[in-house]
């Protein structure tokens, strides 16, 4: 049973990873990152149950907090960039181009 949860977590993580690479809209990319974080949280909770102590849940809790803080700042950045550039595509930030 535990294994199933872990496989699901891995699957969600991989899907989130692919989404980060494929989508161009910055906000959707951010959402895929959130998906990856959630998948990790699931794994942590599963391991907490497996090992019989609450450390996993604790870590998942902290992850949620930090993810929330990250979302706040990240979205503010996106908004700021959008204001000046009028575009939310991540492909536009290509100043490092050769």
């Amino acid at each position: 049973m535990t294994t199933h949860y872990l496989v699901l977590s891995a699957l969600l993580f991989a899907i989130g990873g692919v989404g980060v690479l494929v989508r161009r809209n910055a906000i959707v990319v951010f959402m895929c990152v959130e998906l990856m974080l959630n998948a990790c949280n699931l794994a942590f909770v599963t391991f907490a149950r497996q090992n019989g102590n609450l450390d996993g849940q604790l870590i998942a809790f902290f992850v949620m907090i930090v993810a929330a803080a990250e979302v706040v700042v990240g979205l503010a950045i996106i908004v700021t960039i959008f204001r000046t550039r009028r575009s939310a595509s991540v492909d536009d930030a290509s100043l490092l181009k050769n």
Partner: protein
Amino acid sequence: MGESITFWVLAVVSVAAALGLVFSRKAVYSALMLGVVMLSLAVLYAVQDAPFLAAVQIIVYTGAVMMLFLFVLMLVGVDSSDSLVETIRGQRFWAIVGGLGFAVLLALGIGNAVVGSPKGLTAATQGGNVPSLAELIFTRHVFAFEVTSALLITAALGAMVLAHRERTTPKPTQRDLSRQRFIAFGKTGKNPAPLPGPGTYARHNAIDMPALLPDGSISPLSVNRYIARYEEARGTLSPEIARVLEQEETEQQRLNGHGTPTVAEEAADAGPDTEPMPEESVVAGRVAGPRGESAGESRSEEDGK
């Protein structure tokens, strides 16, 4: 048993939603899919003896974070949809290969990490889930907790700083706004008074019922153009309303001196376009354009369609 069924159902749902998140064209759909994933994960937490986390997931993640996402989507351009054409060569191919490989590797790796059956959390949560967690947070990991709170404050401050915009022009006072309205009236004949509030002249609450002026005639301002267009197309437009609309148009043409778009042209104009975020001047009330496109409110109405 129950857990098994729950798991399988939710697993399918969450994976489908995740795929929908990644592959849907419209950003809003992606956001909603993410919400579905989060909700199903919350249930899974609950099933795994983590009720506190389940609650926090719904309140914080789905409730706050997702709503934040949706708000920003609204600001940025809800209607924006990615084109399907990939600009970077090989990106999609390698992304999918990488993703598949990664999934397989992780599944093999993590999947083989556990041996034996789960110990269960009954022993760890002697006083209940929340008190046990609280005990852990506030005794052993209090430092991490404090630091995290500092992090949250910093994040909030950062967001405020980032999202703040300085005024480049002085804030228009009421006097300025009034002047602008009367100048517009002089130019285009637009009524400087605000639109009638709902219920002042209306006899009915329905949108498609025009309001009456004191002399009993139909107030052209209250005719909903889109519904009128719709009805005209279906042939059920009331003749009074049609006459009022025609008078309205000729009046406009005489005043403006150039062609005002007809109802049909207006409909064609107001197609789905990625309108930039409305300026503050909109909030302050900018110079009124041709009637029917007076405020951003109607536009967002359009965009929402």
